[in-house]
């Protein structure tokens, strides 16, 4: 019986493959994708592995022995795990609170909450860390001026947790809001009409339905937290994490092999979690694939539920906003905390010396945006709609980049593409490729999510009428998932404009990047200039998003749930 089944399955596979072979464009695309993904995602990772195992030209475990002996490394590993768990839990809780307020409650400040949960995604990563120092440092506005505390210390664990939670709770929010909106209200109403209280309904219906989603949100934030480089770099103080340690070992200590060995450790950790998320939890989450809820939910209006949640969210919102208000303000004072003389010097500096990075960053991001968008949709289409050998390879590799910490990817890029035939270092192309690889997973994810809600029958109809795969994709699939496509575009642009860790090894005199400029200003202690740079960067991103949305409205694409921004 089972043998028969297996044979049938195999027969199916062969049939599917045969169908695909008949379509040269499809085969070409698939082969192209496999080769490209292997070259630009797997090969650099392999290079990191290689660097870590080679000492003076021979295979050696010296780098690993060295880091294992290092007390500092063990502590760093512990730090990283502790940080991941703490921020993961906090972000998930806050993200859930916001998602719940958004989807279930007649909240008074819905719009405001939405803005706040998106702000951290579109701003350069270390902005929050800078503001945290200005607010809570020993000379901080709140700690010193308001509370009169003389020896506040924001550097270290506390500071990183605060800043990273603000940075990453939107990840959890966006994931959970999608799920919450897709829970069919009928389930909860059934419980309610049988007499269950709101709390009991929440505990026995909503929460169990969401559990896989919550675990998923936790793991995703965990992965992002351990990979985060800029926040610990700016506000970490004594507290080092694996991502910063890679940089410090490879760059500060002139020890590439040691840095690569730590990178391999971090990479294994991330991939492990990613695999866990992908193969275990995602399979359990049914809510995502049932499609849209049958009808609108009646939002909760009871005051004793609405107000506490509203107030909690509002407090967090004010807290986050106060950080952002400080960014432009930091740019107009001489030295925050010390000399409150108004000055335009920082902005002048930006416009005298910073125009080139500004131009380069924007231009390279613009190049990366459409490529990522189209590539993401094609991959999503293939994963969801086609069955072929190498499909899981494409799926896993294209999503893998999400789990690869930027520092590791950057290290891989510089060691992989410096010899012929793949001599790419020093070109703008390598930066564009790094941008694409970093943003691809989100494009693919939103494409997959959108496609899963569309009945394949529509596409099949076109196929039956004689359209080939290309025709089907361009004239049926793409129009149906254009929202996901455009939000993928926006996301790519924003991610590219604000990327730090992956590209810090790739900048050249020809192509300077804004974020690298900001980081080197932070490094030199010129917070004023860094704030001015960040202000300009945030403005560009805002304008770009506004233009894209304007374009979308003109083209009749509405913002909907599939939209990640």
């Amino acid at each position: 019986m089972t043998i028969n089944k297996r044979r049938m399955k195999n027969q199916h596979k062969i049939d599917d493959m045969k169908k695909i072979w008949k379509d040269p464009v499809l085969v070409t695309t698939i082969l192209f994708l496999i080769v490209t993904l292997a070259i630009f995602i797997l090969y650099p990772l392999y290079s990191v592995l290689k660097v870590s195992f080679i000492n003076e030209g021979n295979f050696s475990l010296k780098a690993y022995v060295q880091i294992l002996k290092d007390i500092d490394f063990r502590q760093t590993l512990g730090n990283t795990l502790l940080l991941g768990v703490t921020v993961g839990i906090l972000s998930t809780v806050i993200g859930f609170l916001f998602a719940y307020a958004d989807a279930y409650i007649k909240s008074h400040f819905k719009k405001l909450f939405k803005v706040v949960s998106i702000l951290p995604i579109i701003s350069p990563p270390f902005v929050l860390a800078l503001s945290a120092i200005m607010l809570f440092g020993q000379f901080g506005l709140i700690t010193r001026q308001l509370l009169g505390i003389n020896n506040a210390n924001i550097y270290g664990f506390k500071g990183i947790v605060m800043v990273q939670t603000m940075t990453f709770f939107p990840v959890a929010y966006l994931l959970l809001i999608g799920l919450l909106k897709k829970i069919d209200p009928a389930l909860e109403e059934a419980a309610r009409s049988m007499g269950a209280s709101r709390w009991v309904t929440f505990k026995t219906v909503t929460l169990p339905l969401l559990l896989p989603g919550i675990a998923n949100a936790f793991l995703l934030t965990f992965i992002e937290v351990v990979a985060d480089f800029s926040n610990p770099m700016v506000i970490g103080g004594n507290f080092s994490t694996l991502a910063t340690k890679i940089y410090m070992q490879a760059i500060g200590n002139y020890d590439m092999a040691g840095g690569a060995a730590i990178a391999v450790v971090l990479l294994s950790l991330s991939i492990l979690l990613f695999a866990l998320e992908k193969f275990w939890i995602e399979k359990k989450s049914y809510v995502t694939v049932t499609g849209k809820a049958s009808r609108e939910r009646d939002v909760i209006t009871e005051k004793h539920i609405v107000w506490p949640i509203d107030i909690a969210c509002l407090l967090i919102t004010i807290f986050v906003l106060s950080f952002y208000v400080l960014v432009p303000i930091g740019g107009i004072f001489k030295v925050m905390g010390v000399d409150y003389t108004l000055t335009l010097a920082h902005f002048k500096y930006v416009f005298n010396l910073g125009l080139e990075p500004l131009k380069d960053t924007t231009l390279l991001s613009i190049y990366a945006t459409p490529i990522t968008g189209i590539l993401g949709m094609i991959i999503a289409f293939l994963i969801v709609r086609k069955r072929f050998v190498g499909r899981s390879f494409i799926e896993f590799t294209s999503l893998l980049a999400m789990a690869v910490p930027g520092t590791v990817l950057g290290l891989g890029y510089i060691s992989a593409y410096n010899t012929k035939p793949l001599l790419l270092t020093g070109t703008g192309l390598i930066i564009v490729i790094a941008f694409i690889v970093r943003s691809l997973p989100v494009g693919v994810r939103s494409g997959v999510a959108a496609l899963q809600q569309i009945d394949p029958a529509i596409e099949e109809a076109a196929q039956d009428l004689g359209a080939n795969s290309t025709k089907v994709f361009v004239s049926v699939t793409l129009p149906l998932i254009k929202t996901a496509f455009f939000s993928g575009l926006v996301y790519t642009f924003v991610r590219s404009m604000t990327a730090v860790s992956a590209v810090i090894f790739l900048i050249t005199p020809k192509y300077k990047l804004l974020t690298a400029s900001i980081l080197s200003q932070v490094d030199n202690g010129r917070f004023g200039v860094a704030s001015a740079f960040s202000t300009v960067l945030i403005l560009i991103v805002y304008v770009a998003i506004a233009i894209m949305y304007f374009g979308l409205n003109k083209m009749g694409v509405s913002k909907s749930d599939d939209n990640i921004l």
Binding site: M336, Q521, D523
Partner: protein, 343 residues
């Protein structure tokens, strides 16, 4: 059927090939250009770099471009680019990184005519690198904080151990910062290994945090995050000039270590001729005096160049006879011993 497969394969290879030729052609056009060009990796402050590159281009007509990175980034970069160097000059950054690069065979020996004005102490004997400036280690303290507690600024390494400074001293991590490693190696050269490490262990109780970059301690003191930062004194001057007006600078009476900022021609770099012109320029009186116009206040290596007026207050600092070579050779071991000592 076979035909289709063939089409598919050709298309794939074309698409893949397209990626690479795209960048290949770009490189070729650069080489064809007859004018002299120069790519510089620079470890200095950004405005210093821009100024120097502009002046150099104005004087020589060479089209020079530079990018700023930390010295570790530059070393990592030129190591990775060894087969196909992208830059021809390394401009600025501590000499220990240059010593390392020389050992790896990444530098081209070049003795500039202008190097005759540079004391032997400040240049490599083979001409692999030449010093362009010197920075003294010292203490940058926050006067406001000191006054609040009624403490005097530290005047010696011993002063730093005073209990009043508990949790109020900042230094960078010798594992990641060349500046902090210079501190560690200065202490060990002053006191001997055992005593030196014991001193670092005692100092540990007063340290608030081990920062990642060497300029951070002076900045933290300037911002009032700590009372005392151990940094290069010229960084302290720079921060004070930029508005951190509470900074006071002192140097240890026992003697202190120093850094030599260097420049070098990179081996097999694409623009050797322009690179040598640039090194000549850096070592000239004019090239050296540029820094002080844009906020870099190090002492200069060219005997004929005028040191910045602002660094007058620290010019009498007592220096030890810092052994750069010893420091470079013992880096890994010393940092490891230090890590164990402070735990």
């Amino acid at each position: 059927m076979k035909k289709k497969r063939l089409i598919a394969l050709t298309l794939t290879s074309l698409m893949v090939a397209g990626i690479f030729t795209g960048c290949g052609s770009k490189g070729a056009t650069v080489e064809k250009n007859e004018d002299l060009k120069l790519t510089i990796y620079c470890g200095l402050m950004e405005d210093h770099m821009v100024k120097a590159v502009d002046e150099f281009s104005k004087e020589t007509g060479v089209k020079a471009e530079a990018v700023r990175m930390s010295s570790g980034e530059i070393l990592g970069r030129i190591r990775a680019e060894k087969e196909n160097p992208k830059a021809s000059v390394w401009f600025g950054g501590p000499a220990d990184a240059f010593v390392q690069a020389k050992e790896d065979g990444l530098l081209e020996n070049y003795v500039s005519d202008n190097a005759k004005d540079v004391s032997d102490k400040y240049k490599d004997k083979d001409g692999a690198w030449t010093g362009i400036y010197i920075g003294y280690l010292g203490f940058a303290s926050n006067k406001k904080l000191l006054d609040e507690k009624g403490i005097e600024a530290p005047k010696s390494w011993e002063d730093l151990l005073k209990p009043e400074f508990k949790g109020q001293v900042s230094i960078a991590n010798p594992g990641s910062s060349g500046t902090a490693y210079t501190v560690l190696s200065t202490i060990v050269q002053l006191k001997g290994e055992e005593e030196g490490l014991k001193y670092m262990k005692n100092l540990n109780t007063n340290i608030k945090s081990y920062e990642k970059s060497g300029t951070a301690p002076a900045r933290l003191a300037g911002q009032g995050e700590v009372m005392v930062g151990i940094s290069y004194l010229h960084d302290g001057i720079k921060y004070r000039e930029e508005g951190m007006k509470d900074l006071v600078l002192t140097a240890p009476s026992e003697g202190t270590g120093y850094e030599i900022g260097a420049t070098a021609v990179l081996k097999n770099g694409p623009d050797q001729k322009a690179a040598k012109m640039f090194v000549d320029f850096c070592l000239s009186k004019k090239g050296q005096e540029l820094g002080q116009t844009v906020g870099s206040y190090q002492f200069l290596t060219n005997k004929t160049a005028k040191a910045p007026a602002l660094s007058d207050e620290i010019k009498d600092t007592k220096l030890i006879d810092y052994d750069l070579e010893w420091a470079g050779k013992n880096r890994t071991i010393l940092v490891e011993k230090w890590n164990k000592a402070i735990k």
